[in-house]
Point group: C2
Chain length 551, copies 2
Amino acid sequence: MVPKIKIIPLGGLGEIGKNMTVVEYMNDIIIIDAGMGFPDESMYGVDVVYPDISYLKANASKVRGLILTHGHEDHIGAVPYLLKQIDCPVYTMALTAALLELKLEEHDMLYTTQIFTKKAGSVFRLGCFTIEFINVNHSIPDTVALAITTPLGVIVHTADFKFDVTPVAGQRIDIARFGELGKEGVLLLMSDSTNVEKPGHSDPEMKVGESFDKLFTGCSKRIIITTFASNVHRLQQIINVAAEHGRKVAVTGRSMENIMRVCSVIGYMDLPEGVLMGIDEISSLPKNKQVIISTGSQGESMSALHRMAFSEHKQIQIDSGDRIIISASAIPGNENMITRVIDALYRQGAEVIYDRHTDLHVSGHAPQEDLKMMLALVRPKFFVPVHGEYRMLVKHAELAKQMGVSPNNILIADIGDVIEINKKDIWTEQKVQAGEVLLDGGFGEVGTVVLNDRHRLATDGMLVIVMPLIAESHDYLGDPEIVTRGFIYVKDSEKLIEEMKQVAVAAVETCKEQEISDLSAIKSKVKSSVATFLFKKTKCSPIVLPVIFEV
Amino acid sequence: MVPKIKIIPLGGLGEIGKNMTVVEYMNDIIIIDAGMGFPDESMYGVDVVYPDISYLKANASKVRGLILTHGHEDHIGAVPYLLKQIDCPVYTMALTAALLELKLEEHDMLYTTQIFTKKAGSVFRLGCFTIEFINVNHSIPDTVALAITTPLGVIVHTADFKFDVTPVAGQRIDIARFGELGKEGVLLLMSDSTNVEKPGHSDPEMKVGESFDKLFTGCSKRIIITTFASNVHRLQQIINVAAEHGRKVAVTGRSMENIMRVCSVIGYMDLPEGVLMGIDEISSLPKNKQVIISTGSQGESMSALHRMAFSEHKQIQIDSGDRIIISASAIPGNENMITRVIDALYRQGAEVIYDRHTDLHVSGHAPQEDLKMMLALVRPKFFVPVHGEYRMLVKHAELAKQMGVSPNNILIADIGDVIEINKKDIWTEQKVQAGEVLLDGGFGEVGTVVLNDRHRLATDGMLVIVMPLIAESHDYLGDPEIVTRGFIYVKDSEKLIEEMKQVAVAAVETCKEQEISDLSAIKSKVKSSVATFLFKKTKCSPIVLPVIFEV
C-alpha cells in the first residue's frame, strides 16, 4: 500500500463553529482544535452542540495529542467532552491554556489533564508528525497557525487569522515564516474561509482605539462599552483610552471578569496603576470619570448589558447620563436580540452608539486580499478551504484557482469526508460518522425523537385523554378527563373539549362493537379519531396522548 | 372644552410592522392602514400577529373610513380582521384595492366590503376630515401619502416613502405638493422612520436594472431571479432586461403568480408580446433563453426558491447551468434562512449572486437625507416619527430638531398613547388598550397561558404520571404509568423513569400518612415531588401532569 495522509474534518466545514480536524498517517493521529457549536433556532432546549467524535473513539489508541490553535469557544469548547472519551495530552499557547484550565476546573478535570504550554516558534514531535507554532493575528491573543511536517510533506493550517502589521500588543503575524515554508514547498494548505465573502484587506485593531478616543473626547457622560470578552486587545485599548482621559475602569459580567483575572495572572494586560476599580466602588466617582466594560455585545439575555437595559443590574442604573458603545458586530441570527437591547437602553434615556458606519469593530478574520496574500506566501500544492459554510468554501476555492493552485488540486470537503493525499493526488472516497451531538443543560444528549416532539409541542401543544375502562366489559367509567397544555385555553374552549370527549367515547364504543379488546389497539383508535377531529376543527396537530387502562 | 385632535397609534411605533393609526376629532374617526405583524422567534406556533383593536370596537360608531396607503402586508394584512369587527368603507389606490380584493376573497368578504378606488391627487371627505392622496415612491406602486385637513389644521402622513425622481414606471413623488402644503402651513407631520439609521440619499430603483443588464450580458446560463413579489417595478425591470437579451420569462411561486395576474388585469405591467411563458413550457427552450422569476428572497421554507434549492420543485432542477440572482436584502432575523438556501443552491452546483456590494437591491424607505428633505418641504409645527423601532423614532426626532422643529413640538410615542394636539401644544397623558393579538393557523387567538406552556414544552418537554388509587383506602393500583414527550428518550432512561415512579409512590404514601385525602392536594404533592426530583437530577423542568383518580 502506498502511504498516504488522511485529513478528516469532524466539524467546521459547511458550517460555522465546532471546529475539529483529524490528521492521520499510518498509526498516528493528531487532532486540531475541539470546538463547540451553537444551537440554531430549531434546536429547542439545546444548550450546546458538540462534534460527533465516534471516529476518534474507534481510533483512540492512535491519538498522540490535541492541538489548540486559540482560545475561542468554537475551538476549545468541546475539549472536556473530548477528553472524557479520549485520553491525550493538549498542546497550546499560554492564554489558550489558561482559558482551558477555567473550563476544566468546572468539569473537575483540571488535575487529570496534561497541558503543554508552547510559544510561537516552538517545534515539537507527536508520533510521526513535527508541529511548529506560527504566530498569527486574530481577535484573541496567542493564536497560532500550524506547520505540520509529515512523512509526505508539510501541511499548513492557518487557524483563524488576519494580517495586522500594527497589533495592539504581542507579535505581528509571522509573514516571513509563511514565505519560507512556501519556498521550501508546502504539500497542503488549509485556510480560514470565514470572511471570504468580504472584499479588501483587514482593518487594523488600532483603528477601533482611534474611534474610542473620539468618543471619549469631550464626553461628560459615563461610558459603558460592550465587546467580546475574549478580545483582550480591545479591552487593552479601552483601558488605555480611559487612562488617557483620566477615567477609571470597572468590568461587569462573568466572562469579562474571568478574562481580566486570567490576563492579569499571566501578565497579558498592561494596567496603569489604579485604573481598575470594583463595580461597587466606581459609582462613587463623577459620571465623567467612569468607564464600565460589560458583557452582552450580542444581546445575550443573561449578560450584564441586557440586565442594565431591562433594569435588572444590581449596581448599574441606566439614565440619560450614559453613553453606551457597542464595539462588536452581530453574529448572524443575533440581530434582533441586539436591537431589542439597544431599544431598551434608549427607552432608559441613554445614548447608544452602535452605528456600523463608524469604526467600532474590526473582524479577526482575513477578507479576500488577506486570503490571497496567504495563498501567495504558502504556494501550496494542494488546497482545502476550512472554517466556513458551503458557499464560503466554494468562493475560497475560486480564490485559490485565481492564485494559481491547479483546479484538480483543490478539494471542497464536508465533515466526515476522509480526504486522502499522497505526493501526487488529493481525493475523497470514504466517509466516517460525523455530525452533531446536542446537549441539554448539563443533563444529556437530546436525540432526534425528543427534538421532533419538542417541535410539535412548541407549535401545537399536547393533550392527554384519560379513560379508565371496566375490565372485561370495556364499559367506560364516567366521562373521559382531558388535560391540555400549549394547545388551547381550556376555559375558552369548553365546547371543543366536550366534542373531543364525545369523539373519544365514540371511538371506544366502535372498538367494542368491532370486538377489539386489545388496549393498544383501542388507544390508537382513540388517538387517531381525536387527532383527525382536531385537525378538521382547528388546523392544529397537538400531540394526543390517550391514557386508557382497565380497572 | 377646547377642541383637540387625537392621534392614537395602534401599531407600528416601537416596532416594525402592523401599522395602524387612528385620527380622531370629536365624533369622527378615520383609520390609516390596518397591517399585520410577523411573529418573532419566541411566538411558538403563531402564524399571524394583528394589532389589538379594542379601542376601535369601543368607538365603532365614530369610524368614518379606513384609508390604505399601499398594498404591503404590514399595511393591509389586518384588514379582514378589522372589517369583521368594524364595518366601514375602504379608500385606496387601484393596485392596493386589487391586492386587498384577493385577500377579501379568501375570507369570503369580497361582496360585503365597500372599496372606493381613488387616484393620486384625489380629495374626499370623511366626517370632519378632508383627505388628499399625494403620490410618493416606494417599493410597490400606488403608494400615497396623506394630507388630512382637520378643523384645527393640516396633518401630513408620509406613509412609507422615498424620493425617486426617475421611477421605473408611474409618477415620481409629488415634491411640489409637499412644498405647497409646507408653505400653506402644516400642523403635524408623521413620517416613516424605517431607514433613519442609514445616512445619505435614496438610490433609484433603475440602478438595479443596470445591474441586471450586466449580469445578463454574455451569460449562457439559465437565470433565476428572486425578489419581493410586490415590487412590481423590479419585476418590470427583469422583464425588460430579459426581452432586450432575447430571453423568455416564467414566474413561479404563489404570491408571484398572484401579483402578475393582478397587474395584468389593471394594466400595471408593460409586457412585450410573447415574453411571458408558463413554467412548464419554458424548460423546452435552451438555458440561455430562460429567465425564471421566483418567490423566496427571504429563504422562506415553502417558497419556490427553497423548493428548488432542496430539489423539491416540480418543474425546476438546479444544476451548474444556473445563475441565481437574489435581488433583495435580508429582513432582520431572516439571515440564516437565506444563507441556508444559498448554500443548498451551491451544493447543487449553481452560481449564486447575492453580494451586498453589487447593486442588486435598493430600499423603498427614505434614508436620512430624504427624511430631512421631507421635513424641509413640509415644515410642520408638530412632528411625530412613525413606523420604526424605538431607537429609530429617537433618531428621527433628532433629525427633526436639526431641521428646525422646536424640541417641545416633537413627540415620541408608543402604541396606545393618545397623542393630543390643539393649535398650540402636543402632549400625551392617556393610554388606550393596544398590543398584539396572536393567531394560530386559522384557528383562534393564542393567549399568554398557552404561549408560556409552549415555551416550557419546547425547552424541557412534558411527562404524564398516571396513578389510579383505590377509593377510600388510597392504596395504589400497581405501578404508576409514565408517558413523556420532548423530555428524555425513554429507552435510554429506564433508571430515571424507575426512580420517578418511586418518588411519585412515596408522595402518595406521605399523603396517606398525613391523612391527606383530597385528590387535588395529592396531585399537587406528586407534581412538586417529581418536579423537584427531576430538576435535581437533570437540571430540566418539564411540565409534570399527574393524572390521579379514584376507582
